[in-house]
């Protein structure tokens, strides 16, 4: 296992994008960063720059206006990345399934690795999703090294 891969899993940098959610999941993500749940102990930092991020954390359903922004952000992230979707509406459309401007889940726009259900998803679930996502990140990195 090469050093890059090891470091990436030990300290993943997260890009958080609100893709039309109700804020419920977003404040739970922030609550997960706050002292009671404290995901920073896993080395996870929330940053704003897609070019430095390993994990894309998306909340909310994709709609006709913002799917381009979401796609742009995904494309700008360097390879070996995972996408974690937080919340029911991001996974399938949820309560917004019949809203005229909603395309549906985030997986209609970008490939998704981990779905975290819940409306709003609890911080424990989000942490659980993170751990699953990091396993996938390690697998992806390993495949990339072997393929080289």
């Amino acid at each position: 296992m090469d050093i890059m891969n090891k470091a990436r899993v030990k300290s993943p940098w997260v890009l958080h994008f609100n893709c039309g959610s109700c804020n419920g999941c977003d404040i739970e993500i922030l609550a997960a960063l706050a002292p009671r749940f404290d995901v920073e102990r896993f080395g996870i930092i929330n940053i704003g720059n897609p070019k430095q991020a390993d994990v894309l954390l998306v909340t909310g359903p994709a709609n006709r206006r913002n799917f381009r922004v979401l796609k742009n952000l995904y494309d700008q992230m360097p390879e070996t990345k995972v996408v974690i979707v937080v919340g029911s509406c991001g996974s399938t459309g949820g309560v917004f399934y019949n809203c005229p401007n909603v395309l549906g889940g985030v997986d209609k726009v970008v490939p998704v690795d981990v779905y975290v259900p819940g409306c709003a998803a609890r911080p424990e679930q989000i942490i659980d999703g993170f751990i699953l996502g990091l396993q996938k990140l390690a697998e992806k990195g390993k495949k990339k090294v072997e393929g080289r």
Binding site: H16, F17, N18, C19, G20, S21, C22, N23, G24, C25, D26, I27, E28, L30, A31, A34, P35, R36, N46, I47, G48, P50, G60, P61, N63, R65, N66, V69, L73, C89, G94, V95, F96, N98, C99, P100, N101, V102, C119, A120, R122
Partner: protein, 365 residues
Amino acid sequence: MNEGTVVNVNTVIPFGPQHPVLPEPVQLRFKFEGERIVDVVPNIGYVHRAVERACELNDYKRNVTLCERICGICNFMHAMAYCESIEMITDTEVPERAKYLRTIWSELGRLQSHLLWLGLFVDSIGFESLFMHLWRDREIVLRLNEKTAGHRIQLSTCTIGGVKKDMDDRLIAEYRSSLAELKKRMDNLAPVFVKDRGVQARLVGKGILPKNKTSLLGAVGPTVRGSGIPQDMRTLGYEAYSYLDFKPVVYDMEDAYSRMLVRIGEIYQSIDLINRALNQMPNGPILQKNTVFPRGTAITRIEQPRGELFYYVAGNGTNKLERCRIRTPTLANIPALVTMLVDHEVADIPPVLLSVDPCVACTER
């Protein structure tokens, strides 16, 4: 070009839709002259889901769930405003105890919203340790939510004709002790906001909204209460507010600092209101089932943490609504925000922007 001519270069800097300061996608295009902002063009619609149209497609009872998901921060108040409008046009009389419970939970929502906002606000001026303190204390309110309804954010207790959950004596005692604890912690933290010179240097005189301009710009909520205008929908006395001797918190410095003081005052006020409501709450039923379909039109105005929330509902005697119009406070505050930001420098954008407490999910629906 002649030599020696100073060229005044106008720079346009887009802020968003994805930006670390705001967790929500909104774009503001800033036009700069040197370091000074001369113009701001807001560009919204990234969170637009067409909820108003979906309200016409769904059964009117299911809309309570949908309206609750318009905004995760003030979810209970959205559901409450929708239920109040439907109750008006179906002649449903809400029991007294349900009115008190609704008041208590909407104040609880205001508490967690203001604590959340204060945290984000001080984080925007670089005071990260205070952010952590506030978000730790906010967990007290979320734990109360969890004990009441089994969920931290979406209470989902409001329904047409009353509420779905009741409070027993044990829970009421829990509320009292938790709120006393929260008040103690706020007593520790509030002086930092009010007296800290670093905070004052970043906020005093920033984002000025003159008192005589507020009605012209149509601003609402703590934004105008920070400019000395006692405009608060709770004075209309909806639900149980008429029994609680409510008076709005007003400061008149007209700047971002003043708006922060209003919200700190409202945290204490909400704790008081909840305690008073818990003392006065009568016993009795909590739900009055409604049996008729909505017919006619109704208007509801309630006070959200960010200002006035307006619901207009039109029913035609079937199980689908004809129209559901929602006007949210942040939309009303955008013209005021644009005026506030002009003449500031780049570093002042985050605190001034956050001083109106923008909630984009509400705005665009």
